[in-house]
Amino acid sequence: MAERILEVENLTVDIPVGGGMLHAVQGISFHVDKGETLCIVGESGCGKSLTSLAVMDLLPKKAIRGANKLELGGEDILNAGERRMSDIRGNTMGMIFQEPMTSLNPAYTIGNQMEEALKRHRNVSTREARDRAIYLLEKVGITAAASRLSQYPHQLSGGLRQRVMIAMTLMCGPNLIIADEPTTALDVTIQAQILLLLAELQREFEMGLILITHDLGVVARIADRVAVMYAGQVVEQGTADQVFNRPTHPYTQGLLDCIPIPGKTERNKPLGSIPGIVPSLVGAFHACHFAERCQYAFAECVKGDIDMRPAVEDGHEYRCLLDPETCRANAQKRGVA
């Protein structure tokens, strides 16, 4: 069995709001092994980004984090404290954010910002930090790397800035990288390049990668395992093959029904859509979160919390009252399996 890098058990994030408590993340469990890519997918507002910030311990001040277990490389980082966390962040665990345009400090050069990431965690000279920065800039496909170091963020395009962000995250050679929708703000043509670059670097440096996205096409190409989130919960989790080829949860099926898949989607058949909107997560909510929008919902669905349950294959689980066989039949009927 591969070395386990990150283990998350029953992670919750609650945010006090005007009308009560917003239960943004409700008991999420997942893990990432060495050299593995875990993709977390779901619609906007389902708690993907908060999950990643919770792992980094970078949540907004008023947000409350809870978990049964949060371990990075076997070390408990749930109760590590800010001091220890700041030693870990950027060192063994790095993060790439959504907005490359604003994620770099406009007042300092690329070189300065990359070097400080390494100098903070390693006892190296400026010379060594600079060499490492040049090496990594070349690695992420930036030409004339040495001269880029003296440039300011505003002189680079969005795609280049995101490459710089990636290189900066790699400065200390982390075991785990969390990329929170790293391509959402970029041109479509650049998006694929950046994601493939990430996947390539992940393989080369044998890191764990958590990729948060709502782009299922990308997930299908680079994910080892996939967690599908809906309204603060993971509703289905398994290998990419399991989730994409044998989707079990009605929401996953609905999602896959929305995108055209070459060779699978029938010609001339309209693409599916999921009616309704994501429910509000303010206050207690003891029911299947998806029931309101689910075409298979029945009375039992709203009578209590739904637990994760194993599907047919090992490591594949989902959160639904319907048994695996019924789900499989539904998936085939919808043409997504």
């Binding site: 206050g283 029911a287 298979y296 919902a297 009375a299 709203v302 009252l321």
Partner: protein, 309 residues
């Protein structure tokens, strides 16, 4: 279970207990207004001072200009002095004039100067600010230049010099201040107009062929009026402070008028032994400016809660 699968009309989850009662915007604005300590404090105090100014002839116990040298420098009532008397609750000044009556009548001068100067500067500043923001280009360049030029002139010094050269009366002080302090109006109105001007509904109004005056007055003005009011409070307070400073230096309102700034200047010479001569008008000035500023700050918080910080 599988027969239920097909039941697409299944009972939907109960959502009634999770809907939150949404108050109407007006209700929310009212709640914000009454819940805002600064705004309420400013509004109540300012209304009080306004009432005092309007009712001055009725409520002041004496003639503010009546000099009785025999009763000069009576200390206010809270002083432990045999001379203190309820006939002159705030005492008398060095000419034996009743301090409370002077204070009451002084509020008229401060409010009049503050309001009139604010009105003049508001008209000038808003006109050129909106013009610059709306038309942009060359107009904007010229207005920007005019604002920069105005800012480089030291206000107090120029006001003093002009008043000394033209002669000083209440109305000259008002005009000089009004002609000098329009800069903030212009700066703020220019930038807010620029923001509003680029919004879609202005483009829509242009597209359906509305005239420029109509667009400015019907589409743009209603959306910058909140900012306008906030700047107006700031400038009113500014004008009141400037008048007091001018009068304090002897080049504003002329004696024997009971301007608070002048009262402070006159009391200054007796400050060592009768500090209340300076303390009382100064406190009045402080409370008036504080209430206007709090009102303005509150107005900004209430009308644009998203800009609170």
């Amino acid at each position: 279970m599988s027969e239920a699968v097909q039941d697409t009309n299944a009972q939907k989850p109960p959502i009634a207990d999770r809907t939150i009662e949404e108050p109407s915007p007006a209700e929310r604005a009212r709640k914000r207004m009454f819940g805002h300590f600064g705004f309420m404090f400013g509004a109540i105090v300012l209304l009080g001072i306004l009432a005092i100014a309007f009712l001055a002839p009725l409520i002041s116990p004496h003639d503010p200009l009546d000099q009785q040298l025999a009763r000069k420098l009576i200390p206010p009532i809270w002083h432990d002095s045999p001379k203190a008397t309820w006939v002159h609750p705030l005492g008398t000044d060095q000419f034996g004039r009743d301090y409370l009556s002077r204070l009451i009548h002084g509020s008229q001068i401060s409010l009049l100067i503050g309001f009139a100067a604010m009105l003049i500067s508001g008209v000038i500043g808003t006109a050129i600010g909106v013009a610059a923001g709306y038309f942009g280009g060359k107009v904007d360049m010229v207005v920007n230049f005019v604002i920069t030029t105005r800012l480089s002139l030291p206000v107090v010094l120029v006001a003093l010099a002009v008043v000394s050269l033209v002669g000083n009366s209440l109305w000259i002080v008002i005009c000089v201040l009004g002609l000098l302090i329009w800069d903030r109006f212009a700066v703020v109105m220019r930038s807010t107009t620029q923001q509003v001007r680029n919004l879609d509904y202005v483009a829509a109004a242009q597209a359906i062929g509305c005239s420029t005056p109509r667009i400015i007055f019907a589409e743009i003005m209603p959306n910058i009026v909140n900012n306008l009011i906030v700047v107006a409070t700031v400038e009113m307070a500014h004008a009141i402070i400037l008048e007091a400073a001018l009068s304090f230096l002897g080049l504003g309102v002329q004696p024997p008028a009971p301007s608070w700034g002048l009262m402070i200047a006159e009391g200054k010479n007796h400050m060592l032994f009768d500090p209340w001569l300076v303390g009382i008008p100064g406190t009045a000035l402080f409370i008036l400016i504080l209430s206007i500023n709090l009102l303005g700050d509150g107005m900004r918080d209430i009308t644009a809660p998203e800009n609170r910080n």
